[in-house]
């Protein structure tokens, strides 16, 4: 009895869901998009993920659609909020696959949510080009989920980039060997600190201050004061968005002004320069892009024109690139057959807004940006694992 009610209700729900969607041309490709609109990751997704979904759909439809074997097909985006909850991500992807019968589904936002939904993508054969999943288990994951691809790189590379940049600055005589390192005590911060420690030591750096602080700490003055007392040549913080802002502000107040100042996630957000203005000049951060390249300039201009906001200088362009790869693979395969498109992705290289992409043996993009620096109001890539267009890092000259 209860089950029958469930079926009836669910059927009417599915009907309601269908009616609520925008009326689209009959032959439009249905593209699913699942990401946080609420919950802890909603802020990041609002900068990096959702505007690019909007921009990509706009660009595709502006150009008359995706060319599928000779017929141009427009795209219709079906969006769902996963509330930053992996259970909801799984349900939403499931719903897209079976109820909405989406032709393709864009990879979700964030490491945990991507990995949680990978089995559903796999079961229905959807190719999954992730743009914001950072993992040290890429080998295991791509072995288990052969249609899963990784664009953004890994923690070891991101930490290695910082060591490389500081080494170069030391060789140029700009800084000495002492480093103050702090991290936010949460997954990504811990992982980066863990990866950085041995690399700093191997490169002959002396970690004079090594500390962590809990996620959500409001008062970061003890962290900054501790670092300042150690009088380091370089300050490195494996930080999350709120503390990236908090640490920078506190460093200004306390007068911690080393020649190399690095904060991790969100340093590449336009809001960072918006908040600190000229003081942001010379700050190093995670990510980066070939900011002077025409591909990125053109992309950034379109991003601002269509969505009304600037892209960030790290994951925004890879997010857009992952959608481009899907589009190119559909056009290249000349069909909407998921298996054929997945095979095309596996066997081809792609030219995207972040430059050429090719896959290593673990379905991962081995060439990615690791460190950027605010120079002249633009966050320029200064280190990468093989990308063109890096500019030399410059010593920071105080907070003025």
């Amino acid at each position: 009895m209860k089950r029958r009610e469930l079926f009836g209700l669910a059927a009417s729900m599915a009907l309601a869901a269908g009616l609520a969607g925008p009326a689209a041309a009959q032959d439009a490709l249905k593209i699913g998009a699942v990401g946080p609109k609420t919950g802890p990751l909603a802020g990041g997704a609002a900068v990096t993920f959702w505007p690019n979904v909007q921009l990509w759909a706009h660009d595709v439809n502006e150009a008359g659609g995706i060319d599928v074997g000779g017929t141009k097909r427009m795209v219709e985006i079906i969006e769902y909020d996963d509330q930053t909850n992996p259970g909801e991500t799984i349900k939403a992807v499931q719903r897209l696959a079976t109820q909405d019968e989406a032709d393709f589904i864009l990879a979700p936002y964030g490491t945990g949510l991507n990995i949680a939904s990978a089995p559903i993508f796999e079961r229905y054969g959807y190719p999954m080009v992730t743009h914001t999943a950072i993992s040290d288990q890429i080998e295991d994951l791509s072995g288990k989920f052969p249609n899963m691809y990784f664009l953004l790189g890994g923690a070891t590379g991101l930490a290695g980039g910082v060591v490389e940049v500081l080494s170069q600055m030391r060789e140029a005589g700009e800084i000495g060997s002492s480093v103050a390192m702090v991290n936010v005590a949460d997954a990504f911060g811990i992982e980066l600190a863990e990866a950085a420690r041995p690399q700093f030591e191997a490169a002959g750096f002396d970690i004079v201050y090594d500390s962590s602080y809990p996620l959500g700490t409001q008062d970061l003055s003890p962290v900054i004061n501790g670092a300042k007392d150690a009088n380091p040549d370089a300050f490195v913080a494996w930080s999350y968005p709120p503390d990236t802002f908090g640490l920078t502000e506190q460093a200004q107040i306390a007068g911690l002004a080393p020649k190399a100042f690095y904060t991790a996630v969100a340093t590449a957000f336009p809001a960072y320069a918006g908040r600190f203005g000229a003081a942001a000049e010379g700050v190093l951060g995670a990510g980066g892009v070939y900011a002077d390249g025409d591909a990125f300039k053109d992309y950034a201009a379109r991003h601002e024109a269509v969505t009304g906001a600037k892209p960030d200088y790290w994951a925004s362009a890879p997010a857009y690139a992952s959608f481009q790869i899907l589009q190119m693979a559909i056009e290249g395969a000349g069909t909407t057959d998921k298996a054929a498109v997945a095979e095309y992705i596996a066997n081809n290289d792609f030219d995207t807004v972040i430059g050429p992409i090719s896959w290593d043996e673990n379905n991962s993009n081995a060439e990615y940006w690791t460190v950027g620096q605010w120079q002249g109001g633009v966050f320029k890539g200064v280190a990468s694992t093989g990308r063109d267009g890096a500019v030399p890092a410059q010593p920071k000259t105080g907070w003025e």
Partner: protein, 313 residues
């Protein structure tokens, strides 16, 4: 404990319903199955929550603490070479131990102090796990198994059956009687010679162990486990809301709250992805104002009205 004919009837009916529910995967509809898992998960959590909170009127917001504890038990267990099935009883024991510790420390408190403590507990456990990761340099954990959604669904149903039997047995036992007296007036219960702390702690342990096992069962579904996802406070609130929507006066009360709530939530998420939180808030208001005693209250006052009408006729 003698079984009346009525008892046998209700047990048979429950068994039949459970068997019907177990057939859901046979429809081959994976979307239905993913909704089924959500319903089964919240049904088990809300029912075991109501086992303790229903009779005692102690509102516990600690579900996420036990759930996360179970998730981490399985994740860490599997990483260290334990069999998945071995992690389930370990999670149950750990959940019960944590509940006992918390119970000893707090159940002597009453009212709002207890609510606040349980809310803080999830955060406390989360911070301890994070601290452990920071010290050991361990990051998010991966639970890569061959367990599929069908397996998880069936496991949850079995657990649900166990929770119902436990609840039914407790309701008929001296313990259940003691709890009802505590719920009516704790002072009176104490004066009648009931060891109120012991009774409350025992029930809280059952509730905690169940939530921990649910967390264990869900770990292979999430695959990637990190503190923010495993200890989300939203879970604790949803369980309370669903149980109250159903009504805690009957063993089956939470279930009649979980099913409509999950379907409503699904309809909202599917049709209005940009307004989920707003609509959730509105439905809370409606529930509180129109259904203060939950569906159980609605059904029972309906029954009473029917009886009265018959009496007049």
């Amino acid at each position: 404990m003698s079984m009346t004919k009525r008892d046998w009837q209700s047990i048979t009916l429950s068994a039949v319903l459970l068997a019907v529910a177990a057939c859901l995967p046979l429809t081959g509809d994976a979307y239905m199955l993913s909704i089924g898992i959500t319903i089964a998960m919240y049904a088990v959590l809300a029912t075991s929550w109501a086992l303790f909170s229903g009779p005692t009127h102690y509102i516990s917001l600690a579900t996420a603490a036990f759930f996360g504890l179970g998730t981490y038990t399985t994740a860490i267990g599997i990483e260290n070479g334990l069999n998945y099935w071995a992690t389930l009883p370990i999670a149950a024991v750990l959940g019960a131990v944590l509940a006992a510790l918390v119970g000893l420390a707090t159940l002597r408190l009453s009212g709002v102090y207890f609510v606040i403590f349980t809310l803080g507990l999830a955060e406390l456990v989360r911070q301890v796990v994070t601290w452990g990761q920071n010290v050991s340099g361990q990051k998010g954990l991966y639970v890569l198994t061959d367990i599929t959604e069908v397996h998880i669904y069936w496991q949850l149903l079995v657990l649900g059956g166990i929770v119902y039997l436990t609840g039914w047995a407790i309701g008929r036992s001296r313990l259940g009687f003691a709890l009802r007296i505590i719920g009516d007036d704790e002072e009176v219960a104490r004066h009648s010679g009931i060891n109120t702390s012991r009774a409350k702690i025992l029930l809280f342990m059952v509730s905690g162990a169940t939530a921990a096992v649910v967390g264990s069962m869900l770990a292979p579904r999430y695959i990637y486990i990190e503190p923010a996802l495993a200890f989300t406070p939203m879970l604790s609130f949803l369980v309370v809301i669903m149980a109250l929507l159903g009504g805690t006066g009957r063993l089956w009360g939470p279930l009649v709250g979980v099913i409509p709530f999950t379907l409503l939530w699904e309809a909202i998420s599917a049709s209005f992805p940009n307004q989920t939180t707003l609509l959730l808030g509105l439905s809370f208001l409606v529930i509180v104002y129109l259904l203060p005693r939950g569906f159980v209250g609605l059904i029972e006052s309906g029954k009473r009205r029917m009886r009265e009408r018959e009496a007049f006729a």
